[in-house]
Symmetry: D2
Subunit: 278 residues, 4 copies
């Protein structure tokens, strides 16, 4: 039996759970997992419901639309694999982790292609029979660079773009085309060490832990909604290089975990935060 | 407005969530938090619901009883402080943590008394104006010892008994009188190192992490339902004493966290496991 | 046999370890623990050595001074308990943890007195027969307030001052009197969320982990050398209050761990960082 | 400048550090890292020293042999890449992580070949141009199977054999040929859940954390010296499959960390424990 996902985001009001669960029950659908959250500050209601059983999805969606508050976000879909495009630069650790998970069908996504501004990662990508596009930044403006990247990306109509250690800052113009569709892995426990060289910043501050943050990209650098964060202990014996090496281990894990939430429809973006039903 | 807790455990069937949420809605009660879990293996349904609003609780409970499957466990109560009795021996770290939390009203419980088989902890307990009973094990049988302990305990009619590093093994007879009402902190990541001297066992095995486990006490030693577990890293420089010292830090934290779940009615025991709605 | 601690900080050069260990050997002293660190960037050498055996400490120190580079810091002492003064405001969790550890002789320090700008914590302090001084900030300038606090502090000639959730910012004048002698617990994973209300800042940023940082106080707010840091996971269900509650658990643990390093002479301050021999 | 590693294991006695460091100093060698450990229970001394500078290694070794206690283990070598052979079965996550690290020269080892008792992993191995040998267990005795595996292994004269989720138990005869040369990743926090199906055992016990353990293989199943262990939190919503999925993430990390210690000569086996200089 197929598993379906019902996602609802709407203004909170009394009786929402009763309405939704009763409707599913009347349609002979079987709820096998349900998570809800009420953001009391903003009076918002969030629901993720997994159910089995067959019904006319369009009709169900229309009925929900009528019974829920105006402007409700309603999304019913079979849990399907997302199409993604990955941008990278030179570092292999996040990219190759995704290539492996994709190859063994564990990513809940299809990597359609990889675009990079260096050719270091060409070989590893092509080992897995995935198209690799080199778009150099040399001798061209940022706008020209982004136009090329965009043109390739659009060919694949991706559900999401993953920045797997992509070392270029995307323009607001670019980012605005993909609202809440670009996921980045930043190598610090944000909001600490925004911007360039976070491990050097961490080294100079003498912190005792380093971290990594996966987040949606917005047009404010490193300030988009956070999905996942983890930290590792470091001490006075760590050079910048040691921190970077230790950090890569967390970056890999943090990005993989964040993408799982995104690709399994377990996440709502609300304002500049995320609601995650894990 | 008072917050009420509704707990339900019953056989799973279609439409349970719909029934319960609709009933609360019809009674003009406002659901402010809800967690449910379906144990598909055993076909069991678990629900913890926090609501505000006033209604006739007895009547609500009866209506629920009629609409839910036979033998459903239904428990509606205002979130009230639990009365507890603590048993201890000589180690102070867990006990004094509870005394402090109790003194500053952060435990969601009232410590009614402390019973110990040594007098080492008498002073610290009495600083907080809590009755301290010394019940020595000397020159008496285990049965006699337990009869004395039981007699004092019963005077206070506790909701729960907490073993805060109580170094005596309670008999099955004793334990059976308080099913799922006795919480113990064991100084290992169970099921590793059951029984005596877990830190020595850990030292001899050369593990690289030590742990602590809070669990309900059953008549099988260290095999009751687990509530909370945590581990700390250790290395080859740790003596048994170092492990014990590091372990105490986790024991304190693990017991406090477990008691929070228990005293806030966030826990169901199911078979030999726990369902925790945190 | 008494355990002695030898601390050395000096310019690095070839043969230092050979010189020091040979000298101890010739004095018939037994090295039972030794940690060294070379900061290659700054060409600094750090050593902490625990030894047993008796010798003329003054003579040993003089010999070392002659054989080591100029301006070497040499400190030989029996591992003795430090005298400390604690400053607090209203929150009990860090203070009472220290009171308990002090009472059971586990802090490697003697709490000489507690100074607070509110009287909320008077009772708990006096339960442990420790002098409590209320120094209100009302109707007086910051300079007047600090003069009073300083006057009480000086009576006790403390080795260290511990800010156990002391909610006032000390002036540079005050801080400069106690270089690397004041330890603070800050309720965020610094350098994130410097300044007031870090948990509110964390809530608004939507982070997925919160933290605590113990550090030496310098005249730059929250920018002194970091000793210990830990983080806890949080999610979208956490209110500011929940974060604060969860954070208190880490603050307590982080401060206790940091103080252990300080009170056992396991720490060097070097520039704005710490070298910790744990 | 080449970095050399000096490893010493011998009976402890006064003056060892002095002797060794003075000898290195006299040979004009520069100590850049040094870790030592004294096992007071067994009166053993362990040293790992990284130095730069050139000298006659054989002569240095002989001089050390003369000045150190009888039966000292002395090992001086340039930090070289180890040759390894990997055994696997069907699970890809640990193996492919090693293939990727090997491909990007981050493993400090050369994977000479992979031997598996199923062909599932053939494709991924051959993508990286590494010989893959299928040795089926069908229609042959355990002894015959091991003879085949041994014959292939011996062709490559590996420094170490890595069991990357190899689901067969090796005989004592086989294991004894490679004392402290075989590293296994076990999917539980040993000594909990020895033997088959640890995640099912964990599920049935209702633990709140699962783990992974990398250890040297001895002829007692899952009882060899432990190198690295980590745990992840789980809760009542985890099925056996969820535990297994979450566990794979730790297994990968634990094995990689353990192999780093082994391949960088950071580890001594002492009795049934390990001393790790990280």
């Amino acid at each position: 039996m197929h598993k379906h996902i019902l996602l609802i985001k709407c203004k909170d009001e009394k009786g929402l759970l009763s309405k939704v669960t009763t409707l599913l029950f009347e349609n002979d659908l079987n709820i096998i997992g349900m998570k809800e959250h009420v953001d009391e500050l903003n009076n918002e209601f969030y629901l993720r419901c997994e159910y089995t059983g067959e019904t006319n999805t369009i009709k169900l969606s229309e009925t929900l639309k009528k019974m829920l508050p105006n402007n409700s976000l309603i999304n019913i879909n079979p849990l399907k694999k997302k199409d993604i495009v990955i941008y990278a630069t030179k570092e292999y650790h996040c990219l190759s982790d995704l290539l492996i998970r994709n190859y063994f069908s564990e990513l809940n996504a299809n990597i359609k292609c990889v675009i990079a501004n260096h050719d270091v990662l060409k070989d590893i990508v092509e080992k897995f029979n995935i198209p690799f596009y080199l778009v150099s930044t040399e001798n061209k403006s940022k706008a020209e660079f982004e136009t090329e990247v965009l043109s390739i990306t659009n060919k694949y109509q991706p559900d999401y773009i993953v920045l797997a250690k992509f070392m270029r800052i995307l323009s607001s113009d670019f980012v605005n085309k993909f609202e809440h569709k670009i996921i980045n892995i930043h190598h610090s426990f944000l909001p600490a060490f925004i911007g360039a060289n976070p491990y050097r910043q961490a080294f100079e501050r003498g912190v005792k832990l380093i971290g990594a943050t996966a987040h949606f990209v917005t047009n404010k650098l490193d300030e988009g909604p956070i999905i996942t964060q983890k930290t590792n202990n470091v001490d006075h014996t760590f050079t910048v290089e040691d921190m970077s090496k230790s950090g890569k281990e967390i970056e890999r894990v943090v990005l993989a975990e964040a993408l799982q939430y995104v690709f399994e429809d377990r996440i709502f973006v609300t304002g500049n935060k995320t609601v995650i039903f894990d």
